[in-house]
């Protein structure tokens, strides 16, 4: 074989190849199972061909490491999706931009609950007053209740980011400056 490339360009080529493989690997990682293979749908159902496969929609959205592998809050904020606020179009949306700090977290970082991303998706009445009292600190939230599907666990761990993502809620360091609300 005639060597027409110098060592330097071979090195450069190799690095390029490695970079390409790394990029390709990210693409492979982001793949979603098709409905036929997901173990949940009946592969013998002929109507599956008419249903959208998750990857076709979710592959275009900001990625996340858990759940659907989609950062739904960012997808909404950055305009990847524009979910309607009522069946037939737009209705008034009550937005709230306050943060609640939960201090009673033992040795774990405190919990910061941001109203903003929640009120983009949900109506006040979805959480108040049945699941959570409006008065901060008046609801006896515990991790075991959450894991059983109560309080935050009504959505988190079922459809919003899963409960294995501890740091997303427990985000305020214990020695931080957060004040009780």
């Amino acid at each position: 074989m005639i060597r027409i490339v110098s060592t330097t360009s071979t090195l450069a080529g190799s690095i390029l190849l490695l970079a390409f493989v790394c990029l390709a690997s990210t693409a492979v990682y982001a793949e979603w199972q098709t409905l036929k293979e997901d173990g949940l749908h009946d592969p013998l159902n002929p109507a599956l061909q008419w249903l959208q496969n998750p990857g076709d929609a979710l592959g275009r959205m900001p990625s996340d490491s858990a759940g659907n592998k989609v950062d739904w809050v960012r997808a909404f904020e950055d305009g990847y999706i524009r979910p309607r606020s009522s069946i037939h179009g737009e209705a008034e949306v009550k937005q709230l931009d306050t943060e609640i700090i939960m201090n009673d977290t033992g040795s774990l970082p405190r919990v910061m609950f941001p109203h903003k991303p929640h009120t983009r998706w949900l109506d006040c009445e979805n959480c108040h007053e049945q699941i959570f009292k409006s008065k901060a600190g008046a609801t006896p939230v515990t991790m075991s209740k959450i894991l059983e599907g109560e309080y935050c666990g009504v959505c988190h761990g079922a459809v919003s980011f899963p409960l294995t993502e501890c740091n997303r809620c427990h985000s305020v360091p214990l020695n931080g400056t957060a004040k009780s609300q």
Partner: protein, 141 residues
């Protein structure tokens, strides 16, 4: 500059590539788009139909949670709603949209009744499901 043997460099890069691809192939299975999919099999199979699979991901692309969970009255609980075909035809629950106008109508049975036979009512891939049965049953394989 120190000269490298290009064959050795190439071999190392190829080996690294293969390792990366192998890692990818192994980790791909972690991606579950069906996180949040709800299987509803309260009455379906008893009535000779496949269970219903409700894909949360598909619906939340188009509607905010409050549309179904506040406006339409869906409770936040798989199997917690008394849904039946009569109510749907009457415009309640799924029937609020699945009326042949906004979304497909009730004649398209197999589009909703698309679940694998024997799958119980559940929120698929939920943290609770994973904690209770980490190895998974039929539906979590």
């Amino acid at each position: 500059m120190k000269k490298y043997d290009e064959n050795v460099v190439l071999a190392i890069v190829l080996l690294l590539s293969m390792v990366l691809v192998a890692v990818d192939l192994l980790t791909t299975r972690d991606a579950h788009a069906e996180y949040g999919d709800v299987v509803i099999n309260k009455y379906s199979e008893a009535a000779g139909m496949r269970p219903v699979v409700f894909p949360h991901w598909f619906h939340r692309v188009r509607f905010r949670c409050k549309v179904c969970h506040a406006d339409l009255g869906f409770k936040f609980e798989a199997g917690g709603n008394e849904i039946n075909m009569l109510k749907i035809i009457d415009g309640e629950y799924c029937g609020a949209c699945h009326d042949g106008d906004l979304a497909w109508s009730v004649e398209n049975c197999d589009l909703c009744h698309s679940g694998a036979p024997g799958t119980p009512t559940q929120v698929h891939e939920s943290t609770l499901q994973k904690l209770v049965a980490p190895t998974g049953g039929k539906a979590t394989e």
